[in-house]
């Protein structure tokens, strides 16, 4: 989570923890809805990659 760029982290946290809609996130973060979608999508892909990476490291050691 710390590895995520802060603007991705904000959008991800507003979505997953506060369960705001895209429109509400757009209003709070003052970015267009399209940007909410792309940041959320990239945040998830990066987190997936980070989790996979950690699992691989865990099984190697």
């Amino acid at each position: 989570m710390e590895a995520l760029p802060v603007e991705f982290r904000e959008v991800f946290v507003l979505r997953e923890m506060e369960e705001l809609s895209y429109k509400e996130i757009a209003d709070v973060a003052r970015i267009p809805i399209g940007t909410v979608m792309s940041r959320l999508s990239r945040a998830r892909r990066q987190l997936q990659a980070a989790v996979a990476c950690r699992e691989q490291a865990g099984s190697a050691s």
Partner: protein
């Protein structure tokens, strides 16, 4: 729907941000495409694990400053859904805008909760947003599953007694044929695990579902409007009952319906 469309839209699909048709198309594609099915499964897993394990993170100083600024704003920015664009008479619009102040502040209140690092959840449960989702889902289900009414009657004296014995509270039923909203019947529904009376009205080709169930809150609450996936919902609390009117009717006609219901009794 192909794989590249699905990749582009799958996040919005998982977040319930797609319209019904889009969601059904993705659902269908994911069911028969192993690659996209795996992607959906992995994303859901990530979502579940994030919700279960994440502790709260402090936002960046700039973000916090923006939130604080937003919280101190006297007049919140134009409400989430642009009420002004609808052709409402000025008085109704003003009334609605006042009602909206609360709703417009809600996202900021939720975001303010983020400022508390690893603190208790400040957002009351169930939130109005999740009730809105449940009520609109119930409305859509009633249209999709061909199960609009349990008791089909335009006679209010037939619909009201039908609910007795099925619900432990009494629901007032009025037929508004003369006003252009004929009663089509009633149905027993569930909203967030609570049995609710659904009164069904018609307006031309459109259906309005009026959900009524008892509230735990003692005080009346003003009218608020929410919208999801092209459906509008108006809600209020009066005399210890929750009222939610849901439809795809245009704003003016739905507002007129809501005014009728609010005036009764």
């Amino acid at each position: 729907m192909n794989c590249s469309d699905t990749k582009r839209l799958i996040d919005a699909y998982l977040d319930n941000e797609l319209d019904l048709r889009g969601a059904l198309e993705i659902e269908e594609h994911v069911a028969r495409c192993p690659g996209c099915g795996e992607e959906e499964r992995a994303l859901r897993e990530l979502q579940a694990s994030a919700r279960a394990n994440l502790i709260r993170y402090a936002p960046s100083p700039e973000f916090e400053a923006r939130l604080r600024e937003a919280l101190h704003v006297e007049e919140p920015p134009v409400p989430v859904e642009s009420v002004e664009s609808s052709p409402t008479p000025p008085r109704a619009a003003r009334h609605l805008r006042r009602a909206w102040k609360w709703a417009a502040l809600a996202p900021f209140a939720a975001a303010a909760a983020l400022l508390v690092v690893a603190g208790p959840r400040l957002w009351p449960a169930p939130s109005e947003a999740s009730v809105a989702d449940a009520v609109i889902a119930a409305h859509v289900r009633s249209l999709l599953a061909n199960h609009l009414t349990d008791v089909a009657s335009s006679d209010q004296h037939a619909v009201k007694p039908w609910f007795q014995g099925k619900l432990d509270y009494s629901v007032s039923v009025t037929d508004w044929t003369a006003e252009g909203y004929p009663l089509a019947g009633g149905r027993l529904d569930y909203v967030e695990d609570t049995p609710a009376a659904a009164l069904v009205y018609r307006r031309a080709q459109h259906v309005v579902n009026l959900f009524v169930w008892p509230s735990k809150r003692a005080a009346d609450e003003p009218l608020r409007r929410l919208s999801r996936r092209g459906y509008s919902a108006y809600c209020w609390v009066k005399d210890g009952m929750h009222y939610w009117a849901v439809s795809d009717l245009n704003e003016t006609e739905l507002q007129k319906f809501v005014e009728l219901v609010r005036r009764q009794g």
